[in-house]
Symmetry: C2
Subunit: 400 residues, 2 copies
């Protein structure tokens, strides 16, 4: 079928705070084929900027808007999605935001194709079994070790077998304070749950600062230390990985190309590669990274902090990998992220989750619930309308 339209829906909480909580807004993408088939995706990205990358006037041959490579293209097989992906990479080579914009469109194309072929996306990727995953609860580090301890207990009470703490003051306070938080987290979790620590790039590329935190992490039996450094600081990752012992390094959520994530494996020495399909260029590149992780004895983990549509999208690339068990799960998303989908992925009695078995992403957008969150965007260049948010319910072509 031919891609006839690509539309963006920018949804947001009435107030967006400075919390490190990515569920406060969402950029949904709807693609429609010439036979009326519909697919939905989501960009984990700045909505206005990502829309601009779709409609911007071209700057030159390899700095074209994302739209230039998509509208009018044929999509009948997974190979078609890869082909369009390569077109975007070529034609928008110098447009940095293109990867984030394209991610949501790519996911929507997989959803469209899965629905058309009546297959879940993971089957189209070649997997035959949908293995259950162990979701971890992502939580902010408490203000005091005592509050971290209590949060850990709460997460366990909700049935989580793995919990991640991070951000807050972790990494910026002194080493002893950080160690107290980590010890409190372990105490609250008990011995048999997995403890994950997220430094949120706080040490930049300073390996010394990171090394000082390793003993406390080792003592608490932390499974991983996530994002100690800037997304591109592979040398720092590599140096730290040589002295972190049983505490594996984790990272990759900032990867906006499959190679960037693979570099973290090849050169950064990570043991866990965290990929957000809604940033890396979609589900196809995520699967490429999962294959590379498998070849290199590295564990693939999704990165998801937004909706269950995005959660399903980020799970597709590794549902077939039985031993890659751990899975990021948005525990306390803002209402916009929860409300926007009809279906949700819930913990079963074993504290595990599974990607949907239904066609496409298996998660439908709840248009009536989404409507109150929508924001209208209008862009004019030289007085002429370049972009205007369309209404839900009616599909409109974007013509550049």
């Amino acid at each position: 079928m031919r891609i006839d339209s690509v539309e963006f829906f920018y949804a947001s909480m009435p107030e967006v705070t400075l919390e490190a909580d990515g569920s406060q807004d969402a950029l949904l993408v709807r693609v429609v084929g010439d036979d009326g088939s519909v697919g939905w995706g989501e960009c984990e990205a700045s909505p206005l900027t990502s829309i601009a990358a779709f409609v911007t006037p071209r700057s030159h041959g390899v700095c074209q808007p994302v739209s230039a490579s998509i509208l009018g293209e044929q999509v009948n097989t997974p190979a078609d999605i890869l082909r369009i992906s390569q077109l975007v990479a070529r034609n928008s080579m110098d447009l940095l935001q293109a990867a984030h914009t394209w991610s949501g469109v790519e996911i929507a194309l997989w959803d469209l194709l899965g629905r058309k072929l009546e297959q879940p996306i993971w089957k189209l990727l070649g997997y035959t079994t949908n293995f259950a995953k162990v979701p971890y609860a992502s939580m902010l580090m408490g203000d005091t070790p005592q509050s971290t301890l209590e949060r850990a207990k709460e997460a366990r009470a909700k049935g989580f077998r793995a919990v991640k703490f991070g951000w807050g003051n972790y990494g910026t306070a002194d080493v002893k304070d950080d160690a107290d938080h980590v010890a409190a987290a372990r105490e609250g979790l008990g011995k048999d749950a997995e403890l994950l620590i997220d430094a949120g790039q706080i040490w930049g590329d300073d390996v010394e600062l990171a090394m000082k935190r390793i003993p406390a992490l080792q003592k608490a039996g932390a499974t991983w230390l996530e994002e100690p450094f800037f997304a591109h600081a592979f040398k720092a990752y590599s140096d730290l990985s040589k002295v972190s012992g049983d505490v594996g390094l984790a990272g990759g959520e900032g990867a906006h190309t499959e190679h960037m994530a693979m570099n973290l494996i090849d050169f950064g020495g990570v043991k866990f590669i965290q990929v957000d399909s809604a940033r890396i260029g979609g589900i196809g590149p995520s699967k490429v990274v999962a294959d590379h992780a498998l070849r290199n004895g590295v564990t693939f983990v999704n990165h998801t902090f937004t909706s269950h549509l995005a959660l399903s999208a980020s799970m597709q690339a590794f549902v077939g990998l039985e031993s890659h068990r751990i899975c990021e799960y948005p525990v306390e998303p803002k209402s916009v992220a929860w409300d926007l989908s009809v279906e949700h992925i819930s913990l079963n009695s074993d504290g595990e989750i599974m990607a949907p078995d239904s066609p496409g992403l298996g998660i439908r957008v709840d248009e009536s619930a989404l409507r109150p969150y929508l924001r209208q965007v209008e862009i004019r260049i030289d007085g002429q309308l370049t972009y205007e948010s369309g209404p839900l319910g009616v599909t409109t072509s974007v013509v550049i």
Copy 2:
């Protein structure tokens, strides 16, 4: 002084074609301090998308618009520019386009500071001598080997001692055709000029395809093979570098962080690191890469395909490195790129160029020449004006 306003000026040719010619539009940045001081910079980036990254509503604490980290900040020393750079990196961590937007602002802050302190930027960076560079002419490969030969002769006749050929059909035609073009280029240049070849990422991450082109490059005595692969394909760079012999690999123009460029040195095995200050985050990160190149026996080269304002900006980071001689020079820029500056950097009788010795970038914007090229951008969210292009001549604050 306090940064009181940051304004963007989007200039463009009346028609922007699909040529791989980055001089067809420009995004200029003007910053104004509270004492009325003015500085100019340029983003080598998609104008509309880069403006959107400056004004977009925030998505969360580390996906804030670029403006949030700049307006109202104090700039009195180079350390202040670094401090603001770190704020942008932190607060806009998840906003991919931020690096391109910030690049132009950062350059404008250096220009502002240099003019205020009455010093060229290269002196503020710690250099004491402004060494002449050997500019190379960047040309498209001809349609036939004969036309490539003629272009090579023309470039020599204009006084260029180094010439780069690339794009066109290079790398996509068969190996023999590519070899014929390379041999023709050498024939046209004569023995004593430097021959550079640019593959424009054409082989993706396919090392085999690139390897087949190496013998012809070696035979012609090419100085470098530029961008054989995707910007992040460091493993492919590394593999090719082990078999390319005297033909050094060059790359880096796609780097949007200093670490990304340094990775190409540390892990990609390049011999020439090409940095565009107007993409990598400005002049400060460019100097960090130049220092890293120097430590690692790698030659620093600017990447510039646009205006002489951008050329001066990209030269600052390496004018003090005497043995890093070669320099990209936009030979046939479109009129918008030429007209927008009062001063231009010209070849002397030895076929060499020098960065200006005057304060700041030493290149002033020609506002009256720029005016006819300007495009007006207007962005509304929920009906409210979020951004509107301001007029030249009058400075206006951008308030988010």
